[in-house]
C-alpha cells in the first residue's frame, strides 16, 4: 500500500480497519467456514455505508472517491480486507458497479443503486480466461432472436453467484464479445456451488440454458465488449492484488514476530543467518509487491498507456512471488503453520485463491509479451 496516504485517505482506510476489527475478528472469520454465503448481509450493507462500493461510481450516480483516484482509494480498502482476511464480494461488486456507472444504460440504474446501498451484491462472469491468442472458445454464447437476447452456456468459477441478485455475463455473439446483466432469478439460470480453498468467499458454476432477456439487459454494444473487459480485468486484478498484498503484509509481520519469539537450540530463529537472508528476500518481494500494485492502480486511474503492462506485471509478480513468500512463512513456522488452529492459513488462502483468479502469472506474462510485441511493431 502507498507509503504516504493523504489524511482523508488515512481516515477512510482507518474507518474500514476499525470496522473489520470489530465486526469480523479472526475468530469470526474462522467460523464463517460453515456460513452458506460466507458473509452476513447486514455486514455488507454497513460496509457499503462506509464507501466500499461507491469509489468506482461517478458522483452523478451517487458515488465518488476520496482522492480523485477511485481505484487507488479502493486499494486501501482492499488492503484492509487482506490484512483482516475479511469476507465479502469486494471485487465482483465493485467491478460491476464501476462498469454500470461508466458503460451502463438507464435500465441498469436501479441495480447500480442497490449495489451502492449494499442491499444487493453482484457477480461477474469474467468470461474467457486471459488469452493472448485472441479470446478463447470457452464460455457462454448469445444471440438476438425475436428482439430478445438469448444466452446459453456455462461459466465457472463465478464468485458470489449464489449470493448475487445480478450477474454481469460475458458471452460470445456473432460480432464479438458481449456483456449482459442477468438477474439471477431469470428462468434458465442455474447456480451450482463449488468447493474452494477460501473460507469466506463462495464460488459457483453458473449455467445459462436458453435464458431470454430484453435487449436493455445488454451493457455496452452487442459484440463490442473488448474495451469493457479490459477495463474490468484491470480493476479486478488491482483490487485482488491489493487484498493479496494486505494478506502478505500480515503473514510476513506475523512470521517475523515468530522468528523473534521462537527459540531453537537456545537462540531465537531470528539469529540464524540462513533465516535472516530468507527474511531479507521476503521483505524485498513484499516491498516490490506493494510498489508494483500501487503503480498499477495509479496507472489505471490515470488511464495511462502503460496501465495494461503494469497491471499484468503486478499480477504475475504478486502471484508468483507472493505465493512463495507466504509458503515460506509456513515453512518458517514449521508444523504449526499447517494447522487450522493457527491464523497463517487465512492469509495463505487469500493469496492462493487470488493467484488463480483473473489469469495466472503465466497468463499475465503472455499478456506482457504481447504488449512488448505490439510496441516493437509500432516502432
Amino acid at each position: 500500500m502507498l507509503l504516504e496516504l493523504s489524511s482523508d485517505q488515512e481516515i477512510f482506510r482507518d474507518t474500514t480497519a476499525r470496522f473489520l476489527t470489530s465486526r469480523v475478528p479472526i475468530s469470526e472469520v474462522r467460523s464463517l467456514r460453515n456460513h452458506p454465503a460466507g458473509f452476513d448481509p447486514d455486514y455488507w450493507r454497513e460496509g457499503a455505508e462506509l464507501g466500499w462500493t461507491s469509489l468506482l461510481v461517478s458522483e452523478e450516480h451517487g458515488g465518488g472517491s476520496v482522492s480523485g483516484g477511485g481505484l487507488v482509494d479502493l486499494t486501501t480498502i482492499a488492503h484492509e480486507f487482506g490484512v483482516h482476511a475479511a469476507p465479502g464480494p469486494l471485487v465482483p461488486t465493485n467491478v460491476v458497479a464501476g462498469t454500470l456507472s461508466t458503460f451502463g444504460g438507464e435500465a441498469h440504474r436501479p441495480v447500480l443503486e442497490s449495489l451502492l446501498a449494499g442491499t444487493s451484491v453482484a457477480a461477474w462472469c469474467f468470461g474467457p480466461a486471459v488469452d493472448t491468442d485472441g479470446r478463447g472458445p470457452a464460455g457462454p454464447r448469445c444471440r438476438i432472436a425475436d428482439g430478445e437476447v438469448v444466452l446459453d452456456g456455462v461459466q465457472r468459477p463465478v464468485e458470489a453467484a449464489g449470493q448475487a441478485h445480478h450477474i454481469l455475463v460475458t458471452a460470445r455473439a456473432e460480432g464479438g464479445l458481449t456483456q449482459i446483466l442477468v438477474p439471477t432469478d431469470t428462468a434458465g439460470v442455474s447456480i451450482e456451488p463449488m468447493r474452494t480453498a477460501d473460507l469466506t468467499r463462495r464460488f459457483a458454476a453458473v449455467t445459462f440454458d436458453g435464458v431470454r432477456l430484453p435487449v436493455e439487459a445488454l451493457v455496452g454494444e452487442l459484440g463490442d465488449a473488448d474495451e469493457l473487459l479490459e477495463y474490468q480485468l484491470q480493476l479486478a486484478v488491482v483490487i485482488g492484488n491489493a487484498e493479496a498484498v494486505g494478506a502478505l503484509q500480515t503473514a510476513f509481520d506475523m512470521t517475523l514476530q515468530w522468528a523473534f519469539d521462537r527459540y531453537s537450540f537456545g537462540r531465537p530463529l531470528a539469529s540464524y543467518q540462513e533465516l535472516k537472508h530468507r527474511f531479507a528476500d521476503q521483505k524485498t518481494w513484499l516491498e516490490a509487491c506493494h510498489a508494483v500494485n500501487d503503480a498499477a492502480a495509479a496507472a489505471v486511474d490515470d488511464r495511462s498507456p502503460d496501465a495494461k503492462e503494469l497491471v499484468s506485471a503486478a499480477k504475475a509478480f504478486i502471484g508468483d512471488y507472493g505465493s512463495e513468500l507466504v509458503q515460506d512463512c509456513v515453512q518458517i513456522h514449521g508444523g504449526i503453520g499447517v494447522t487450522f488452529e493457527h491464523d497463517l492459513h487465512l492469509y495463505l488462502r487469500r493469496v492462493t485463491v487470488n493467484r488463480a483468479l483473473y489469469g495466472t502469472p503465466a497468463d499475465h506474462r503472455q499478456r506482457i509479451s504481447t504488449v512488448l510485441e505490439n510496441r516493437k511493431e509500432r516502432a
Partner: protein, 420 residues
Amino acid sequence: MTEDVESFRLRARAWIRANLRPLEPHEILAPTLALPVQTEEEEHAALARERELQRMIFDAGLAGIGFPREYGGQGLTTDHQRAFNAEIVGYEYPARLQAPSFSPCGAVLLDFGTEEQKRRHIPAILKGEEIWMQLLSEPSGGSDVAAALTSAVRDGDDWILNGSKVWTTGASTADWGLCLARTNWDVPKHRGLTVFILPIHQPGIEVHRIEMLNGSTEFCQEFLTDVRVPDSDRIGDVDGGWTVGTRWMFHERMLFNSPFVSIPVGTSPGEVGADSIVNVARDTGRFDDRCVRDLLGEAHMLELVGQTLRRRIGRGVAAGRISEQSAAITRLFAGVSSARKATIAFEIAGPAGAAWTADDGAAANCGDDFLMRQTSCIGGGTTEMARNVISERVLGMPRERTPDRDRPFRDVPRSASNRA
C-alpha cells in the same frame, strides 16, 4: 523561483533534440553487459567526446540537476532529474561521466567537502573537466570495506598513503579519486578510517588494468606508494571516515534514483535489458514460441517491478518514512533480477549462446553475458551483504557475531596465515 518539472522537461527536450545526436538502433538495443572491447585510442576518443558533450550540457544549463546553483548545478529535485532521464532516452549522452563522478563522488563532496573543496571540484565535475573514481575496495577486503588496509600516516601538513585499491572502474582514464584509508590501527576498524581526495596521475600511483573473463578491461587495480596528500584534501574528520563511507555507499546504492545522475529511463548499465531480450527472441526467430513469450513477459515484469520498487524506496527514504538502509532492498532486487534476465536471454538464444557470429544480432554475446551473470550480485556490494543489511538494519534481527567489532584493528586476524 524553482522551475517546475514540466517546463524544465520541455526546456530539456528542446535542447536535447536540437543539439544531441539520436542513437542508431544498434547503439540503443545492443546488450550492454558485454561491453565492447576498445583499444586505448578508441577509449580516449570516446571519453574526449563525452567530456565535450558534458560541457555542452553544462553550458545549456542542464548539468548537475540536483547540485546547488552555487556549485554550478541547477538546484532542482529528483523529479527534475527523472524528467531529464526520460527525455535523454535515444540520444547520445556522456554515460561514463555520470557514475562514479557525479555520484557517489560528487555527492560525497557535496555532503562532506569543505566550501573550498566544493567550489574547486564540483563545477569541474559538472563541466566534464574532472572525471572521478572510487578508491574504495581492496584486494584483501571483499565485502568488508571497513577493513581497509591502505594506510595514511600524518607527516606535517600532509598525509602519506600506502596500499592497494581494486575494482576501480576506468581508473586509467580518471583524473581524481575519493579514497578510504586507515589512519588509526589502535581502535576498532570503523573508528580508524579517514577519507581523502587525490589526483590519480602522479608519481607513486601505478594503475593496472584487470582483464575480466569476457575480455573487458574497464576495471583496474591501483598501487599507492608513498603518495603525498595535503591535509586540505581530507574529506570529513580524521578517523571519521566511516561516517563518510556509509553515506558514500548510500549514494552508490541509490544511483538509479539519484537527483545527481542522468541515466536514460529503462537502461541499466551492465545489465541485459528486457528490450534487448526481445531482440534476442526476434533475431533467433523464436518470438512466437509460447515458452519464449513467457520468458519475455517475465523479463519485462522484473524490469517494471524494479522501477516501481526503486521509486517506492526512493520516495520513502526522501520523505523520511523508511530508513536509508532500505536502499539495500533495491540493491538486492536489482542484483537478483539482473542475473535472472541474463539467464532468460541465454535460454532464448539457444545454440547461439554456445557459438555465434556477428550475424546473430542480439543473440550474439548472450553466452558471454551469461558467464558474467553474477557481476550484478557482486559489484557494489554482494547480495549477501544486502541481505544482512535488510535483516539486521531494516528488520532489526540480531547482528551476526563480529569478532573484530570491539578490538583494535591492529589485533584483528586478517587471514588464515595471520591469526592473532
